[in-house]
C-alpha cells in the first residue's frame, strides 16, 4: 500500500505540491490525471525518492521514503520502476545498453541480461532496434525503450509518467495490455500518470485528479467518469455541444447488464434522438460506457423519468457543461 500524507513540495518560491493525500492499494492500477503543470510528475518523483519534499510522509508498504539511508534507498528504488516523461535515455548508448543498465548495476549475469532484453524488446515491439543508438530512435521507439528499461528489475511498484503519450494507438494498446498483464500476474502496483482518458478508463481501477498541487477528486474510475466532478470537467474542458433552443442533451451511462437501453428507450417512448457524443470503451466486466444524446425538449422529462424508473444513471449536460448555440 502506498500512503501519502500531507505531502508538500516547493521549487524555490513556487509551491508545487500543496498537501497531497493519497492511498493506493497494493496490486492496483492507479491513474493520476490533471492539467499540465499540476504537479503530477513531481508527485511521482517524490514517491520514488528522486525528489526531496518539504513536509508530509510517503509510505510505500512499510517503507517511509523520507527516512531511508543511501543503501536502503537504492534497494527501494530497485523495486520501484519508473518510466520518465522525457524518456531519459543515454543518447550515446545503444538500446541494448540502455535497457541493460539497471541489470548491470545490480550485477546480473550477462546471459540473464541478454535473455531479459530480448524478451522485453519483443514485448515493446522493437526487437530490430537492439543495436541502434538511442538518439537514432523515433519518439515512440524511445518511449518503448524507456518502458522496457523500467521493467527490467521486475519492480513491485511501477511509476509511469505519460508512458504511452508518444505511441500510436496499436502500440499503446499493446503496452496497456502488457501493464494489465504484469499487474494481474505479478500483482505489482502501477501508478499511471496520463493525459489520455482512454488509458485511464481502460486500465485504471482508481483515479485521482490533481489540480494545482492538490488532489481535487479521487475514486473509482467509474465513479469519477459518471459523477464527473468539477475537477474532471476542468480537465476535459467543455464539450462543444450545439443545442438549439428546443433541444436538450442527456448523458446516459450503461454497462453490460443494460446495454440495450438506448434502443429500448427509443422504442418504448416512441421517440427519436441523435447520438452526439459518448465514451464507449468496451462492454466487458464492469466498465461503464456513456452516450450523449440530443433530444427535443418536449421529450426530455419523459426520458428522465424512464431512466430513473429503469435505475439507469444519467445526467443532463446543459447548463453546467454545454454551450448553447443561439
Amino acid at each position: 500500500m502506498i500512503e501519502i500524507k500531507a505531502l508538500t513540495k516547493s521549487y524555490e518560491n513556487i509551491e508545487v505540491l500543496k498537501g497531497i493525500n493519497l492511498t493506493i492499494e497494493n496490486g492496483s492500477i492507479f491513474g493520476i490525471a490533471g492539467r499540465s503543470g499540476a504537479g503530477k510528475s513531481t508527485l511521482l518523483r517524490c514517491i520514488n525518492g528522486i525528489e526531496t519534499f518539504d513536509l508530509g510522509t510517503i509510505k510505500v508498504g512499510d517503507i517511509d521514503v523520507g527516512s531511508l539511508n543511501h543503501e536502503e534507498m537504492r534497494v527501494f528504488r530497485k523495486n520501484t520502476g519508473m518510466i520518465f516523461q522525457n524518456f531519459s535515455l543515454l543518447s550515446r548508448a545503444s538500446v541494448y545498453e540502455n535497457i541493460a543498465l539497471p541489470m548491470k548495476c545490480w550485477k546480473y549475469e550477462k546471459k540473464a541480461i541478454d535473455k531479459k532484453i530480448k524478451e522485453l524488446l519483443e514485448l515493446v515491439g522493437i526487437p530490430e532496434k537492439i543495436h541502434s543508438k538511442a538518439r537514432e530512435l523515433s519518439g515512440g521507439q524511445k518511449q518503448r525503450v524507456a518502458i522496457a528499461r523500467a521493467l527490467t528489475m521486475d519492480p513491485q511498484v511501477l511509476l509511469c509518467d505519460e508512458a504511452t503519450s508518444a505511441l500510436d494507438p496499436k502500440s499503446t494498446k499493446a503496452i496497456l495490455d502488457l501493464l494489465r498483464e504484469i499487474n494481474a500476474q505479478l500483482g505489482i502496483t502501477i501508478i499511471v500518470v496520463t493525459h489520455e482518458m482512454s488509458v485511464l478508463r481502460s486500465i485504471c481501477k482508481h483515479v485521482a485528479i490533481v489540480e494545482n498541487g492538490t488532489i481535487e477528486a479521487m475514486g473509482t474510475t467509474d465513479k469519477i467518469f459518471t459523477q464527473r466532478p468539477q475537477a474532471l470537467i476542468n480537465l476535459l474542458g467543455n464539450k462543444e455541444i450545439v443545442l438549439s433552443k428546443n433541444e436538450r442533451s442527456i448523458e446516459i451511462f450503461y454497462s453490460r447488464g443494460n446495454d440495450q437501453i438506448l434502443t429500448k428507450l427509443a422504442r418504448e417512448l416512441e421517440i427519436d434522438f441523435s447520438i452526439i457524443g459518448g465514451e464507449i470503451e468496451s462492454l466487458d466486466e464492469n466498465s461503464i460506457n456513456s452516450v450523449v444524446i440530443k433530444v427535443d425538449s418536449k421529450y426530455a422529462e419523459n426520458i428522465k423519468k424512464y431512466l430513473i424508473h429503469k435505475d439507469i444513471m444519467w445526467r443532463e449536460l446543459f447548463p453546467q457543461d454545454a454551450e448553447v448555440d443561439q
Binding site: 520514488n48 531519459s88 543515454l90 539497471p102 527490467t152
Partner: protein, 223 residues
C-alpha cells in the same frame, strides 16, 4: 652548400632528432598514462563530492579542489624542484627522462582532473536521476552514465592534454631529460643552431598533428 645542409640534416636527424623523438614519445606516453589514471580518479572524487556533485561533501571537495589548484599554480620548474624528494623516492634520481615524468604526471593529473570534472558536470541531470531511479549507486552513475555520455568529450580532453604535454616536455631540458623540446631549446635555440631548431619543431608539429588526427578519428568513431 645545399649538399652540406642535407648532410647536416641527416647528421642531426640520426644523432639527435630521432632518438629525441623516441624520448619525447616515451615521456609523453608515461606522463599521459599516469596523468590519465590519476586524473580520472581525482575527477571522480571531484564529481562525487563537488557542490553540484552526486554526494556533495564540502570539506573533502575543498581539500581536493585546493590540491588541484596548488599543483596548477606551481610554475612547472618549481614543481620539479618541490617534487624532487618524491621523485628521488620513486625513480631513484632527480634527473633524466624518467625523473621528469614524475612532476609532469602530477601536473597532468591536476590538469586532466579539472578538465574531466568540467566535462562530467555537463552531463544531463535527468540521466543521473534516471539512473538513481533504478538504484544505481554513485560510482555506477559515474562509470555507467556520466562517463558513457561523456565519451566524445573525454576523447577531446585526452587529445588536448596529450598535445599539451608534447610541448610541455620541453621542461625536461632543465633536468637533462632530453626529448625534442629540450633539443629545440638547448641544441637549437640556446646554441643558435637553426637547423636543429627547425627540425625538432617540425617533428613536434608532426607529433601534435598525428595526435590530433588520431584523437579526431576516435572522436568521430564514438560521437
Amino acid at each position: 652548400m645545399n649538399g652540406e645542409l642535407i648532410e647536416s640534416i641527416l647528421y642531426y636527424l640520426q644523432k639527435l632528432i630521432i632518438p629525441s623523438t623516441f624520448i619525447t614519445i616515451r615521456m609523453v606516453l608515461s606522463t599521459m598514462i599516469i596523468g590519465i589514471a590519476f586524473g580520472f580518479v581525482l575527477a571522480i572524487f571531484l564529481t562525487l563530492y563537488g557542490p553540484n556533485g552526486l554526494n556533495p561533501k564540502g570539506r573533502i571537495y575543498s581539500l581536493l579542489n585546493f590540491l588541484v589548484n596548488t599543483i596548477r599554480s606551481f610554475p612547472i620548474l618549481i614543481l620539479i624542484v618541490a617534487m624532487g624528494p618524491i621523485t628521488r623516492m620513486i625513480i631513484g634520481t632527480t634527473i633524466g627522462e624518467k625523473a621528469i615524468v614524475v612532476p609532469l604526471s602530477i601536473a597532468a593529473t591536476a590538469f586532466i582532473a579539472r578538465l574531466l570534472e568540467n566535462s562530467f558536470l555537463e552531463v544531463d541531470k535527468q540521466l543521473i536521476e534516471a539512473a538513481r531511479s533504478f538504484g544505481a549507486n554513485n560510482l555506477q552513475i559515474i562509470f555507467r552514465v556520466i562517463m558513457k555520455e561523456s565519451v566524445p568529450s573525454i576523447i577531446s580532453i585526452m587529445t588536448l592534454a596529450t598535445v599539451n604535454y608534447i610541448s610541455a616536455t620541453t621542461i625536461a631540458a632543465a633536468i637533462g631529460g632530453g626529448g625534442l623540446g629540450a633539443v629545440a631549446l638547448t641544441y637549437g635555440f640556446q646554441s643558435f643552431n637553426n637547423t636543429v631548431l627547425y627540425m625538432s619543431v617540425f617533428i613536434l608539429l608532426l607529433l601534435v598533428n598525428i595526435t590530433q588526427f588520431i584523437g579526431d578519428l576516435f572522436y568521430k568513431k564514438f560521437l
